[in-house]
């Protein structure tokens, strides 16, 4: 007998015959088992990015997005996943802009989705094309809030929770995990949506600082990542810097991930580039705009773009050199501090040219 009673209408609408594809995301038993089986000792977990991705990201995994679209997102770890040619990943896109290239290079095959796009830069053409051409199979549709509730339920240590979101919408018809029920506490009709606790296989979380055990300090919006650290079967922390345990103990404000959840700690300066890292560096906006407006236009373009930016870079330092090296670092640090009002912002110029004019005399990808 199947372990899970999925919403049948959604299975039919999504044309999902093999429901075992859906199981890992809600399989609490195996998540608890995985958490129990981890080495719980307080030990040095430092690895290189290559080692960490090689050991802890597996073909067919449910890999969740972290950060917010392109803020504190582990971009360089995602690029390493591409370089290692992982495949058949179920990617959770929430709140995402990262599925399209994961699909384009065959790393992601399946999609759990609450958003694919780049805010005012519009919808994601590569993702749209992948759906139309069947290069990705949608396994479930969500809203940001209900997906966040699923992760939060896992974080709270409960089987699920009742939500007032999604009611009446078509999203319910394309998500086999969620169910409309009567609120058991009310005598009069009160529809609620049961959202199960969600357990991704792997979460990669980029932070400003961590110690060698995996205690991690975060600054800026945490989004879903505190919950995800508790939920995921495996957790890789990548950090701008590794600090001594005494630093974490004496500056524990902002320490939000306990070492017990963490499998690997990677020192990875510029690990969120070309995304933004609060307190550290700004987006390369031209890089993103060229991705969204040019590279995502066709498979040929995206291949050319990623050949230059990912496959011909061995690590993030090669990538930073191409963005403009030390000049880019200094400029993007100034930008992010000015925007956070951590340095003088009077008269500060945030303007930048269109991506078409990237090769300027400054040599920086703004």
């Amino acid at each position: 007998m199947a372990a899970y009673d999925y919403n049948r209408e959604a299975l039919t609408n999504l044309k999902i015959e093999d429901t075992s594809l859906l199981d890992p995301l809600v399989d609490f038993t195996s998540a608890r088992e995985a958490h129990l089986k981890k080495d719980h000792s307080r030990r040095d977990k430092r690895l290189s990015l290559k080692e960490a991705i090689g050991e802890f990201v597996r073909d067919g995994d449910v890999l969740t997005d972290t950060g917010f679209s392109y803020v504190r997102t582990p971009m360089q770890a995602y690029f390493e996943i591409l370089r290692q040619k992982k495949k058949d990943i179920q990617m959770i896109g929430s709140p995402n802009s990262n599925q399209s290239y994961m699909i384009a290079f065959g790393a992601a095959r399946y999609s759990h989705n609450s958003y694919s796009g780049a805010e005012m830069r519009g919808y994601d053409r590569a993702y749209s094309r992948a759906v139309i051409e069947g290069k990705t199979k949608i396994l479930s549709e969500w809203s940001h809030g209900t997906m966040a509730q699923g992760f939060k339920a896992a974080h709270l240590g409960v089987p699920g929770l009742f939500s007032k979101q999604l009611l009446g919408s078509d999203i319910l018809r394309y998500n086999a995990y969620v169910k409309v029920m009567q609120n058991p506490m009310r005598a009069d009709p009160d529809p609620v949506v049961f959202v199960p606790a969600l357990y991704p296989d792997i979460a990669i979380i980029h932070v400003q600082a961590a110690d060698r055990f995996g205690n991690a300090r975060m600054y800026g919006p945490p989004i879903n990542d505190i919950a995800l650290a508790a939920a995921a079967r495996r957790v890789i922390v990548t950090a701008e810097e590794i600090v001594p345990p005494s630093d974490i103990r004496s500056n524990n404000k902002g320490v939000v991930i306990p070492f017990t959840c963490v499998d690997a700690v990677v020192e990875l300066p510029y690990g969120a580039a070309p995304g933004s890292m609060p307190g550290c560096y700004y987006w390369s906006r031209q890089w993103w705009e060229k991705l969204m407006r040019w590279a995502c236009q066709s498979q040929k373009n995206i291949e050319e773009y990623f050949e230059y930016w990912v496959f011909s870079c061995k690590d993030q330092y090669d990538f930073i050199e191409k963005l403009g090296g030390a000049k880019w670092i200094a400029n993007s640090r100034r930008l992010t501090k000015a925007e956070e009002y951590d340095n003088e912002d009077l008269g500060f110029d945030f303007s930048y040219g269109e991506f078409k004019t990237i090769e300027t005399e400054t040599g920086i990808y703004y």
Partner: protein, 263 residues
């Protein structure tokens, strides 16, 4: 200010969105025109509003226009930043007064589609962004204001996918579905402002922008618009003072309020 150019359509939308905000409210915003409108409101008639964002950002100090909802301008020296699940929880718990939502399609009951153009989600003509926080805010906010451009392919009889519920099938069907709040209270477009008739919950003209006749608005709409009783009012235009604040103080780079191709 005497030879100031009149408001362009995007500035008209931003200004009229700002008028939906009352002072002291908690306003849930995304980037784009709602963000411009909220800051304009704060710099004009509603100086004491509080802005909150789905990234969890709360009450930032004013800065420029953010490049992303997760970006520093949305949490610039914020007293605190919430996790995403808690941020939406504020709307459920009654701490959000008004939210703004965009759309790719809308029907006469204010139901919204941001998922796809087509009839099959597995094989659409165009796959759009999906919900993001759209469904969450429409399900939970006390009041919603919907904003978008008006044309017959956006204002449709039936949306291709109900991402977010407005009034579902009209009448009391939103409430029966179990959703919270009053539902959409206004639709602000480049042609006019609309509300919903209290009984049927069908979209109704509230005012039309200067130079837009009812016939023109109807032509830009794929369903029958209701008319208000009496003459149709003309939508308020921003004064030169307000336009000056909008252009020079709120969005000086014209990130969201300059017309495409005009810069």
């Amino acid at each position: 200010m005497t030879d100031m150019k009149p408001a362009n359509p995007l500035e008209m939308v931003a200004y009229n969105l700002s008028l939906q905000i009352e002072d002291h409210q908690v306003v849930y915003v995304g980037t784009g025109l709602p963000m411009v409108a909220a800051i304009l409101a704060r710099k004009t008639h509603a100086p004491s509003i509080t802005l909150v964002y789905e990234s969890g950002a709360q009450d930032p100090l004013e800065g420029g226009m953010p490049w992303s909802v997760g970006g520093p301008f949305t949490w610039r020296k914020s007293p605190m930043i919430l996790e995403m699940s808690y941020s939406f929880g504020q709307a459920y718990n009654g701490y959000v007064d008004i939210g703004f939502l965009g759309f790719a399609q809308i029907d006469m009951y204010g139901n919204i589609n941001t998922h796809m153009i087509g009839t099959d989600l597995l094989k659409p003509k165009v796959r759009l962004t999906g919900s993001g926080g759209n469904n969450d805010l429409s399900s939970l906010s006390e009041k919603m204001v919907l904003v978008g451009l008006q044309s017959p392919d956006k204002f449709v009889k039936k949306v291709d996918f109900i991402t977010s519920v407005g009034f579902l099938e009209g009448g009391d069907s939103r409430k029966k579905a179990g959703l919270l709040g009053q539902g959409p209270v206004a639709v602000v477009t480049n042609a006019g402002i609309y509300d919903f008739e209290p009984e049927s919950k069908r979209m109704r003209v509230k005012s039309l922008h200067q130079g837009v006749a009812f016939g023109l608005a109807q032509m830009a709409t794929g369903f029958e618009l209701l008319k208000p009783d009496g003459d149709i009012p003309v939508t308020p235009m921003p004064s030169p003072e307000v336009l000056d604040i909008l252009r020079n103080d709120v969005d000086p780079l014209g990130v969201f309020t300059s017309m495409p191709g005009s810069k």
